[in-house]
Amino acid sequence: MVQTVITPPGRFAAPNLREMWNAREVLYRFGMRDIVLRYRQTAVGVVWVLLQPLVSAGIFSIVFGQVAGLSSDGKPYFIFSFVGMLAWNLFSQVLNRSAGSMVGSQALISKVYFPRILVPLSGILSVFVDFVIALGLCIVLLFVYGINPGWPVLLLPLWAVLIAFLGAGLGLAASAIMVRYRDVAYVLPWLVQTLMFASPVAYSVSDVPSNLTTLFNLNPLAWFLDLFRWSLLGTPAPEPWKFVGAVVVSLLVLTWGMFVFQKFEREFADVI
C-alpha cells in the first residue's frame, strides 16, 4: 500500500516525477479532450490547421519575397516561409496553450488534486497533432517543388521535440506567474508577436545586415529555424554550435520552467 505524507511545502520543490508518471492517464485524457474538441466543434477542423500556415506563408512570400525582394537561401519563397511557419507555430502554440491553461482550469484546480504541471503540459499533445498534419502538407509541397532534403530529415523529430520543450519551459513559467499576476495574459501575445518578427520565420538570416547578425544569432529560435530548414529543405548545415546550443538551451529552459512552476504551485488553490 502506498503511504503518503503531506507536510508544508519547502522552499524548493523539484517536480515529483514518480507522481507525474502515476498520473499520466490525466495527461492523456486532457490531451484527448483538447484534440477531440478541436475537431468536433469546428465545422472543418482539419482545414483550419492547414489553412493558417498556408495563408501566412503566402502572405510572407508576397510581402517579403515579392515586395521587399528578399532572398530565401535559394529555395522557393513559399516553401521557405511555410517551413518557417511550421516551426514557429509549434513553438508559439505550445507557449500559448500552456501559458493560459492554469487560469483556464481554475475550477479544476480548486476542487481536485492531481499534479498541476499536467495542465500546461497537456496542451502539447494537441499542438503536436496539428504539427503532424501541417507536416504532411509540407511533405506534399516538397514533392511539388521537387526538393529532396536528404538524410537530415531524420533529425526533424528531434528538433520538433526540442522546440516544443523551449515553448513548454516558457509556457510553464508564464502559466504559473499568470495565476498571481494576470497581466502576463496581456503582455504575452504582444511579446510572442514581436518575437515572430524578430526571428527569421519569414526571411533568412543571410539577409540581415552583418552588423546585426550577432544579435540575431543570440535568438535560440533562429537556430531552430535554421535546423528545421536544414532538415526539411536541404539548406546548408548550420554551424555546429547551433546544434549544441539548441539542445542545451531547450533543456535548460524546460527545467527552469518546471522549477518556476513548482515554486508557485503550492499556493495555486489559494490564489487562483
Binding site: Q3, T4, V5, I6, R29, R33, I109, K111, Y113, D183
Partner: protein, 397 residues
C-alpha cells in the same frame, strides 16, 4: 490515517492587500521596498491532532466557517498545510464537488474516462468499473451524447457514479449527497455505506445531521479551526446542537451581530413557547428607531429546524411590509402554513434596507408539540420523511 499538529494559515489583506497585477506589485515595492505588506493572519485550522483508524467512517461536523472544508482540502492535497504533518496509508480520493472536470462538449463516455483519471483512477480501473458506473447512473442510453445536453439531474448522477466507484483506500466526501432526486439520494447513501463496510476509510463533511448519523461510526467536531471533540457520533452531534444555543446567547448582544448596525432589532418574541403543529405561529419583532436613517426598511424572518436547514423565509417585502426607520415599530408576523413537525425550531431575523442593517441569527426559539395534526393516526413512518407537514387531503374523483 494520522494527523499531527496540522495548521493552515491564510493571509488576509487589510485593504485588499495582495497585489493582483505585476505593475501594482512593482509600484508597491518601489514605494516601500522594506515593508512586507501589512496583513492579518487567519488560522483556518489550528493544531489539529487526531487519528482515524482503518475502515472507520468519520463525520466532520462544525458550524459554518469552522474549517471543515479546509480540512478536507488539506487532506486531499488541494491546498498545502502551513504546519504539521499528515500520514495517509493508502490513496485518498475526493468527492468534493461532483462533476468537476466534466467538459460539456464531451460525451458521457469520454467524461467518465476524463473524470475517472482526474480522480486518480487508472485506465484499467475505469474500464473494469465502466459498466457498473453506467448502470448506477442510469444514463446508459445517453452515453454518446455530449453532457451539455443532459438534464442537470442526469449530469449529477453520472458525476456521482464515477466518483462513487473510486477504489481509493480513503475517500473524502463533502456534502455531495444533497444531489439528485430522493431515489438517487437513497441509492448514493447505500453506496456510501457499502464503501465504509468494505473496510475503507471514509471522511464525511455534512450539515445534514441525518446523513452523518446514518453513515458515520465516529465523528470529529471542529470549532473555529480547532478540534473540539473526537469520538462517537452522538457526542459530536450533541455538541453541534448545543453550539446553536451558545451562539444564540452570544447573538443577544447587538454589538456582536453582523450588519451595518444603523438599526437593530431590540427584541424578538414568539406568541407562545409551545405550539401545535397546525397552529398559527406568531412572531413579534421589535425594531428600534434611528431618526438619522432616511427611508423605510423591511424585515425578513427565517424559521430553521434543529439541523439548521432553513424551512421558510418570510420576507416582508413580498407582502408590502415597509417600515419607517424614524420611529420604533413592533411588527407581528403570522405564519399559517406549512405545518411544522414536532421538534425544536429557531428563528433568524434580518432587518434590511439596501444592505443588511441587522442580522440576528437564532433570535428566538420555539417548540412544536408532538401532536398529530391529522385526523387519523398512523405509524411514525407516515410523518417522518418530509421536512415540514402539509395541509392536504385525498379525494376520489
Amino acid at each position: 490515517m494520522r494527523v499531527a499538529g496540522l495548521g493552515k494559515t491564510y493571509r488576509i489583506g487589510l485593504s485588499g492587500d495582495r497585489p493582483t497585477t505585476a505593475v501594482e506589485a512593482a509600484l508597491r515595492w518601489a514605494r516601500n521596498p522594506v515593508r512586507r505588506g501589512s496583513h492579518e493572519l487567519f488560522d483556518a485550522l489550528d493544531d489539529l491532532t487526531f487519528d482515524i483508524p482503518w475502515g472507520e467512517a468519520t463525520g466532520i461536523i462544525g458550524r459554518n466557517g469552522a474549517g471543515k472544508s479546509t480540512l478536507l482540502k488539506v487532506l486531499t492535497r488541494i491546498t498545502a498545510p502551513t504546519r504539521g504533518r499528515i500520514e495517509l496509508n493508502g490513496r485518498i480520493g475526493s468527492l468534493l464537488e461532483v462533476g468537476t472536470g466534466f467538459h460539456p462538449e464531451l460525451t458521457g463516455r469520454e467524461n467518465i474516462y476524463l473524470n475517472g483519471a482526474l480522480l486518480g483512477m487508472t485506465r484499467g480501473e475505469i474500464r473494469r468499473h465502466f459498466d457498473e458506473i453506467v448502470d448506477f447512473s442510469g444514463v446508459a442510453q445517453f452515453l454518446d451524447t455530449p453532457v451539455k445536453r443532459y438534464s442537470s439531474g442526469m449530469y449529477v448522477r453520472l458525476a456521482f457514479s464515477v466518483a462513487a466507484h473510486l477504489e481509493t483506500e480513503i475517500l473524502a466526501i463533502d456534502e455531495v449527497l444533497a444531489v439528485g432526486d430522493a431515489e438517487f439520494q437513497a441509492k448514493s447513501l447505500a453506496k456510501m455505506r457499502d464503501v465504509a463496510k468494505d473496510g475503507r476509510t471514509v471522511l464525511f463533511v455534512s450539515h445534514q445531521v441525518q446523513t452523518v448519523t446514518a453513515l458515520c461510526t465516529s465523528a470529529i467536531y471542529l470549532d473555529k479551526g480547532r478540534l473540539a471533540y473526537e469520538g462517537d457520533v452522538a457526542g459530536a452531534l450533541d455538541l453541534y446542537r448545543r453550539s446553536f444555543e451558545k451562539f444564540a446567547l452570544e447573538q443577544r448582544d447587538a454589538g456582536t451581530r453582523p450588519g451595518s448596525g444603523e438599526l437593530r432589532a431590540i427584541d424578538v418574541e414568539i406568541g407562545e413557547d409551545q405550539l401545535e403543529p397546525d397552529g398559527e405561529k406568531t412572531i413579534l419583532v421589535r425594531v428600534g428607531a434611528n431618526p438619522k436613517l432616511i427611508g423605510s426598511y423591511f424585515v425578513s424572518c427565517h424559521i430553521n429546524d434543529v439541523n439548521g436547514s432553513v424551512l421558510v423565509q418570510c420576507d416582508s417585502r413580498v407582502v408590502g411590509g415597509w417600515y419607517d426607520a424614524a420611529t420604533e415599530h413592533t411588527i407581528r408576523l403570522t405564519v399559517r402554513t406549512p405545518w411544522l413537525k414536532p421538534g425544536r425550531y429557531t428563528v433568524d431575523v434580518f432587518v434590511c434596507k439596501t444592505g443588511v442593517l441587522d442580522a440576528w441569527e437564532g433570535a428566538a426559539g420555539f417548540e412544536v408539540l408532538p401532536h398529530n395534526p391529522y385526523p387519523e393516526l398512523a405509524g411514525d413512518e407516515a410523518l417522518t420523511k418530509g421536512l415540514v407537514l402539509a395541509d392536504f387531503d385525498y379525494k376520489e374523483d
